[in-house]
Point group: C2
Chain length 416, copies 2
């Protein structure tokens, strides 16, 4: 725990080492506090590249970084590998398996979880894409379908094995569908010349009448045209009614036979928050004061996907940049609080958002202006190479992208 | 299946895409045969670096290569992802789940499996190191023990969590013990400054009275001294009597309390061979004609760890180089057989063998001469960077070694 102060220093417990928790911890590195950063994994995941793991472009270990290596240079910070099972706001305690931790200040940044909206069969038969393990499982499933199809005699079964449905036309769905279409193309051209092109389908299902909900409508239309040119069946207004093994039923009665159904249709605030008895609002997120403090508990902050805040009448999106800025603001407000100052209101500075559309393609906004094509892809590549922590990972990801631009996929081993 | 010949070409089925099977397939790439390469995994594993995965130096996906990418340029070769369940020598058939494959020539190269010698509790409580999944499980176990120890109040439990026993003082045991000692040192110095050095132990147990059985005795002694200087407790003549949860009992009555017991004490020929009704000899390996043919079945070849052959009165060791050379010889003998020539007798050309002793250390023989220290390490590094297939993997492994020489371990995330 280090430190030379003689008076006991306030103990800040940060639950969750995603972007919000990690950036909060880092900004508090020189403050006169003792920090315990808690996570159920011993690594930090760079979630914006999860879809690239699922589509075989980068390897799973390239987007994770051991948390200890990220806070190693902060003598005031220790890491505890623990799944929090209880938060006791009254006694100011956090409990995990056999562990109890008292806090003076608490930061809750446990993020979000896949939301299936109670659609029958979705949780049982779809593959989500929210953790590294899920990304690997999705990639392995696609590869397994090809391996099975090439040994399969029935054309009907082969078509089902080679139909890949992606539910959800938000940024993750759009990016993953593009990556998946390229994986399918690469497998078809390079590894499975015996399989027929007509038997392969990538279907992107979006319940609303446009892709990329949070983006300006013309960018959603651009993305739909671009994905269609890549050979993806983009189906708008296609709300899923039920998922059974190997079949997706739509509300309009249509059905899609697919061995693989990826679910990237939505997320909700970490359900653990509700289990801990915290006041949870819409989307499982916790409504907060403008300062990111929990109403009635000035010693408790919430940041990242779990935090519900509105700006210009809209809830802030559950994205990496919001989480990082909120984590930084929490650190700042804790420092102010300890110095006897008023905490400040959080305001998200939206520099833009980008979604990749396959190799060298993309769409998005930068400083309020729409960008498409190679410019969007380059901006995306720059941001996603410089944001994740750790030089080794950046180098290997860059290497994999170079491989990928050459039409190769580096990660096609079905390692369980 | 390609090919322009009008007459049906002989069908060669190769079971197992390890070094023996893969090199056999590659050498047959231009022969007038149709090849089906069968493996239960869709990837080839570079087993000589498994211990580096287990000690966190390289990542699991860096030592595997998709088999399809390795035979992509051979139009006469197809890959089938299948676990063989039956070999019918009379009807010349190989069967897997729902698949049946007729062969004209068969190459069995399914390798070896961990051998626990029937020692009570060994199979249940030890962690083997024979597959990528096992290497990751072993690495995760070590990391998990550190994470648990740092939260543990009882000194006794902490000591047990931080005691790592390695059973088996052959090359794999020696290399893994060295890698493990460095992982432990790196974790202690960099990631867990709160844990005490005295509570950490790496214990290498060898039943015989020297390390590195197959090497000249002075090299075994050199290795023992070197590992002892690295802080490893090398215990010779330490035969394991029984393993219970958290305890290893030795035949002399001594016991070692350890949460983690790695088992690298031995291998046997793939037990499936016996289940298929093949004539299995000592160590589960199949005795063969000098030409690597199965006696009475000139159309069946066996190569690699599964093949039992003696040279100068000793069985050939179950190592990568023997497997590669046997695979090449099988290909050559198949070509001779098809050309109406007599198959040739296999003879292993032993260029040497090397074992790494931690960072920049090593021991071994090269062209019959003993080498130690940096020279051995450099020779080892050269061989292990140039042998595994695939430029991407070589690059990333080299990158990880550079990281490692700088005292960092790249792969410390407990990804399940």
């Amino acid at each position: 725990m280090g430190g030379t102060a003689t008076a006991p220093r306030p103990h800040v417990v940060i639950v969750g080492a995603g972007p919000a928790g990690l950036w909060a911890a880092r900004r508090l590195g020189r403050q006169p506090v003792d920090i315990t950063l808690v996570d159920r994994n011993n690594y930090h995941t760079f979630q914006p590249l999860l879809w690239q793991v699922a589509s075989g472009t980068v390897g799973p270990e390239e987007i994770v970084t051991p948390i200890r290596s990220l806070v190693r240079r902060q003598p005031n910070t220790r890491f505890a590998w623990m799944e929090v099972q209880e938060v006791d706001l009254e006694r100011r305690l956090v409990r995990g398996a056999g562990q109890e931790m008292a806090y003076d200040l608490l930061v809750l940044a446990t993020g979000s979880a896949t939301h299936f909206y109670g659609i029958p069969g979705a949780a049982e038969h779809c593959l989500p894409l929210k953790t590294v393990a899920e990304a690997v499982a999705l990639r392995n499933q696609v590869l397994r379908c090809f391996e099975r199809a090439v040994l399969e005699e029935s054309a009907e079964v082969r078509r089902r094995l080679l139909t890949f449905a992606v539910v959800g036309g938000g940024p993750t769905g759009v990016e993953f569908a593009g990556g998946l279409a390229e994986l399918v193309k690469s497998l078809r051209d390079r590894d499975f010349p015996g399989l027929r092109r007509e038997e392969m389908r990538v279907v992107l299902l979006e319940a609303l009448d446009g892709l990329l909900g949070g983006f300006p409508p013309q960018l959603g239309r651009f993305a739909a045209r671009h994905l269609a040119r890549m050979g993806i069946e983009v189906r708008l207004g296609a709300a899923v009614a039920e998922v059974t093994p190997q079949t997706v039923w739509l509300k309009d009665g249509a059905l899609i036979e697919a061995e693989t159904v990826a679910w990237v249709a939505g997320v909700q605030g970490d359900p653990a928050a509700r289990a801990w008895g915290l006041p949870v609002g819409r989307g499982g997120r916790i409504p907060l004061l403008p300062s990111l403090q929990l109403p009635g508990h000035p010693e408790v902050y919430v940041a990242g996907d779990l935090a519900h805040q509105e700006q210009e009448g809209h809830p802030l999106p559950m994205v990496w940049a919001v989480a990082v800025q909120q984590g930084q603001m929490v650190a700042r407000n804790i420092a102010r609080q300890l110095a006897g100052q008023e905490p400040m209101a959080f305001r998200y500075r939206d520099r833009g958002s980008l979604a990749v559309l396959g190799r060298m393609g993309g769409v998005g906004r930068l400083w309020g202006r729409p960008v498409t094509g190679l410019v969007a892809w380059l901006a995306w590549a720059y941001v996603h190479l410089t944001t994740p922590p750790g030089w080794r990972n950046r180098l290997v990801v860059a290497l994999d992208w170079v491989w990928d631009l050459g039409g190769r996929r580096a990660n096609q081993s079905i390692v369980r």
